[in-house]
Symmetry: C2
Subunit: 232 residues, 2 copies
DNA sequence: CATAGTTTCATACAACTGTTTGAATTGCAA
DNA sequence: TTGCAATTCAAACAGTTGTATGAAACTATG
């Protein structure tokens, strides 16, 4: 009967430190010091540093995915089996944004850890990450049901853009705040979610012909083209 | 008269290795081996590893910014002193996307290095990065001139989203390709640029009331809210 | 050629990394 | 209690890191 106390202490400390400082700057000695356990405990309980990181990533990843899927299911239920575009996108980006933005005190360490994990591509995580696409495919399916006439590639692009905006917003709040001198309020999380959902939904619902290159031969673009040639 | 040859060899090798593998995985010994110079040369020519990275980042950053500004200037010239929204956005995201995507052989090491630098936040770079906002402010200004009636915060959000989509697209081509099973073609760079520019322009030009939270109390959202409460 | 300054080089250094070891301690069943 | 396994611990290990040293090689000037 293994006593999981030390194990849990290590997991908690590791998650917190990684979330705060990133993988590159945190050593096993930092973790065990913060957890108040012996250095050898990590290798005893997890085998190696990489296995510790992997366990952390798997556990927290499953939790995040469950949240997103629950929100998707709820939206589909409320819509009689079919959720509309914005509801799907909201289920996709909402949980992470809510956990990473908002009042400092309420931010979940788990989500900030996941953001770190998706930024810094450390080997043990890279190996696991491939499963993510299976999870995203469910949202692609839901979007396809909401937009039966939409081109499949456009749906993936919309998904990609939604994640891109959400991701960048969680990890680069600072630049946006500095650039806008505080005019962009990131504390109203639901408003931020609305912005991102609306923007992504627009790329999906508005026919602009972007996928077939419409307005790329106007004067301005050609001028830009010429400029671009110069640098080569 | 200092011979800059060794210096240049080091810079080139470092840029290439950092672009390929990231900062965490590249040691000074990797760099000097790849450059074919002695280990001590780095400290002799640059003082320290951090100063080498900083020099690389400053040099390449200036180059990228110059490209973007040239494209912006050209667009403004062609528009009689005022570039339209899409032209501004294209000047912002075009250079980086063209350099990072497209045929493997043409991708510039410099741009991939800059992407790395913006992903992995290593101390010497973090210190310099603040200057970036001054550069972005010029594009915010151009957008403001193109959209005099647009809310200032909306402009910053649009800029933020454009950079987010461009950034994520350059660094996570793999997931998009895997998710879409090749249906999203990233090789047609200009088409990708169009997509991103169109999407970002839409958030700027389409009045949706997103900034004031319109449709957040419909049935679906409330259901999602309930779900979200459960996790707490 | 000689000499002074610059640049290269092999080598050593100290600090830090993840991991291992073997003894000490603990918890619990017989 | 005794005995045994699970767990903790201090210490050491082997490897890697960035940096420093002092001698050697080079370059150009007088």
């Amino acid at each position: 009967m293994p006593s999981d106390r030390t194990r849990a202490l290590i997991l908690d400390a590791a998650e917190r430190l990684y979330a705060e400082r990133g993988f590159g700057d945190v050593t096993l000695r930092d973790i065990v010091a913060s957890a108040g356990v012996n250095l050898a405990a990590v290798n005893y309980h997890f085998g190696s540093k990489d296995e510790l990181i992997a366990e952390l990533f798997v556990t927290r990843g499953i939790a995040t995915n469950r949240e997103r899927l629950a929100e998707l299911k709820a939206a589909e239920l409320a819509g009689g089996g079919r959720a509309d575009v914005k509801a799907v996108l909201r289920a996709l980006v909402g949980p992470t944004l809510r956990a990473c933005l908002g009042p400092e005190t309420e931010r979940s360490t788990a989500s900030r850890f996941m953001i770190r994990a998706s930024i810094e591509s450390v080997p043990p995580i890279r190996r696991i990450k491939n499963r993510e696409v299976d999870h995203l495919r469910k949202f692609a399916g839901a979007l396809h049901r909401a937009l039966p006439d939409c081109d499949e590639a456009d749906i993936y692009w919309g998904l990609h853009f939604a994640l891109a905006m959400a991701h960048q917003t969680t990890r680069d709040t600072e630049r946006l705040a500095k650039l806008s001198e505080g005019k962009c309020n990131v504390d109203d999380v639901e408003a931020v979610i609305d912005r991102i959902v609306d923007a992504a939904a627009m790329t999906l619902t508005t026919r602009t012909g972007a996928s077939t290159n419409p307005a790329r031969n106007d004067a301005k673009t050609m001028a830009a083209r010429r400029t671009e040639k110069l640098k080569g």
